[in-house]
């Protein structure tokens, strides 16, 4: 039996003669894995270590690593590796919930490491391997990936040894290595088999930071940087076969939306909102791309609750964050069409990024809801019969009625009118359906306030009649201003001409 030469003690490339003379006599067997050494040229140390760790995590949910006198090692406490696992064949698809997809990463990882000059030794349950290039003469020399193996090895798990490697461990590229203090929130992902997987919101600091700010991990493994103060570990998306990106960009941002839907910490939401305002107050990766579409986010598989409903469940917390960051007088703008009315009700419309508007509207008031609620309140106005009015109020009401008749408005009523919103009282209103003007009891106690009201409301009426469109008759619309000015001019002229003197008897300034 030939002695093992120094260069072959940790083999990287051997010939069939080496195998027959050195290895076979010592009980080693040879399997040809298949690809030549030029396969997957783009893979380097990172990709190799990534896939070894990925396999370890799929096996055991944890891995250990370290450096010793031989180089760098990665170990897990899983069920071990079979000889057949090293054979390349038709892809053995892993289940959807696994981190890896094709189960071939371990072999390609070994190939890439060998190509970089690192012998690879694998010790697993009851056997050990040297992954090697088998040098063969085929119109020149060809190096084919192969493995020497023999019964031996450990009692538990698998240990990959990358001989001579002293480079980075890339531990910061695996979310499982992050300190717990960086994990800010966890929300169930759509993956709950074989165990519930949680999408994680992570503070972009230390190991979880990047030159851009944050990092996106997918299923515990680094995917890409993100310009953000947050990092993410997302489970509910598929990766492209080369693992260089998500299979669908939209799916990644949607999964981020699922995570934020379940966040219930007001301080985190106060950081989130400035990113998703339009324009963003804090420009970040999330700003333009995050999606929280109710239908697309779907349901959390454990509770079957829709992700969008998680926002509704935490509505008070979202509102508190909104009030602090955006303002207590702010509502979500769904359309600029209502801006005038919103302002009129004492609020202001604020635009959110398109992808989050519908979801956040379940917790925060929108312009539409504000106006709907206002209209519903106003429907509760109570008309007060003339005999119930004070003498002064009735005098002022009759003055208003006389002016209104000039513009063919026959219904002018005293009323108790609810506030149009929590931020706006109502002194008068125009009901364009009944062509009716209501004047609040308090307003009717003053002639000048009554006149202001009837002039303004008749402006609404005239603008509506002129345009046939209630939108054109709203406050702050030019047509309303024009018609109101005409009414005011008429009142001034007629009053100066003593036309209403009878109605001013008993009037109070």
């Amino acid at each position: 039996m030939r002695a093992i030469p120094e260069a072959q003690a940790k083999p990287r490339t051997i010939t069939m003669e080496d195998f027959e003379e050195i290895w076979k006599p010592r009980g080693w067997r040879l399997i040809i894995i298949g690809p030549t050494s030029s396969w997957r040229q783009e893979w380097g140390e990172w990709e190799a270590i990534r896939d070894i760790v990925q396999n370890a995590l799929d096996e055991a949910e944890a891995y250990q690593y370290g450096y010793d006198s031989e180089g760098f090692w990665i170990a897990d406490k899983g069920k071990g590796v079979a000889v057949s696992d090293f054979l390349l064949g038709p892809p053995k698809l892993k289940p959807d919930y696994a981190r890896g997809k094709f189960g071939e990463g371990m072999k390609i990882a070994a190939l890439a490491l060998l190509r970089k000059g690192y012998p690879v030794h694998v010790e697993t349950i009851d056997r050990e391997f040297w992954i090697i290039f088998l040098e063969q003469q085929v119109n020149g020399k060809v190096e084919t990936l192969a493995a020497l193996w023999r019964p031996n090895g450990s009692r538990t798990g698998t240990k990959f040894h990358i001989i001579g490697y002293t480079g980075p461990s890339f531990d910061y590229y695996f979310a499982v290595n992050l300190p717990r203090r960086l994990i800010l929130a966890e929300v169930p992902s759509p993956i709950n088999v074989p165990t519930i997987r949680y999408n994680q919101l992570i503070r972009a600091e230390g190991m979880a930071s990047s030159p851009a700010g944050g990092v996106i991990y997918t299923r515990d493994i680094y995917l890409q940087d993100i310009k953000s103060t947050f990092s993410y570990n997302l489970w509910g998306l598929e990766l492209s076969p080369d693992r260089h990106g998500p299979k669908s960009e939209a799916d990644m941002w949607l999964d981020m939306g699922r995570l934020w839907s379940g966040v219930s910490n007001v301080y985190l939401l106060e950081e989130f909102l400035p990113m998703v305002l339009e324009p963003p107050v804090v420009q970040s990766g999330e700003s333009r791309y995050i999606r929280m579409d109710s239908w697309d986010m779907g349901s959390e598989p454990g509770s079957k609750k829709r992700y969008a409903d998680l926002i509704k469940d935490h509505a008070q917390i979202w509102q508190a964050a909104w009030n602090k960051i955006v303002g207590i007088d702010a509502v979500i703008r769904t359309t600029s069409r209502w801006d005038g009315m919103v302002k009129h009700l004492g609020y202001r419309s604020v635009t959110l990024q398109h992808g989050v508007t519908d979801a956040l509207a379940t917790a925060i008031m929108t312009d539409l809801v504000l106006i709907r609620e206002s209209q519903a309140r106003l429907r509760d106005s109570e008309i007060v019969p003339d005999p119930m009015l004070t003498r002064t109020a009735l005098i002022h009401l009759n003055l208003a009625r006389k002016i209104a008749l000039k513009f063919r408005v026959e219904r002018v009523q005293a009323a108790v009118i609810p506030p149009a919103s929590e931020r706006a009282r109502t002194a008068g209103l125009y009901d364009h359906v009944r062509e009716e003007i209501l004047i609040h009891l308090e307003t009717l106690e003053s002639a000048t306030k009554t006149l202001d009201t009837i002039i303004h409301e008749l402006g609404h009426h005239r603008a509506y009649k002129a345009s046939g469109d209630i939108q054109m008759a709203e406050d702050l619309m030019p047509l309303h201003s024009e018609k109101m000015t005409e009414v005011a001019a008429y009142v001034i002229g007629s009053t100066a001409a003593n036309e209403f003197d009878e109605n001013f008897k008993g009037a109070v300034w």
């Binding site: 509760d380 019969p385 108790v416 706006a424 009282r425 000048t448 303004h456 008897k505």
Partner: protein, 69 residues
């Protein structure tokens, strides 16, 4: 426990504004155009006619009340 007092206890509730079905605009049935006291005053000020309006109204009140005496 004290009962919440109505805002206008002296006012009997007679009728609500009649029902009408306005056409929906952007998902809102816009029927009422409400105005706050502050906005009513401001909007008349903005017509530029406030001075003349107040002047003729004061005069009319004075006239009417003098005749009355």
């Amino acid at each position: 426990m004290t009962r919440r007092q109505p805002l206008y206890p002296h006012v009997p509730k007679s009728r609500k504004p009649g029902l009408g079905i306005p056409s929906p605009i952007q998902g809102v049935q816009l029927r009422f155009l409400p105005d706050s006291p502050e906005f009513l005053t401001l909007s008349v000020n903005n017509t530029g006619l406030r001075g003349r309006l107040d002047s003729v109204v004061r005069a009319a009140i004075k006239r009417a009340n003098e005749v009355r005496r």
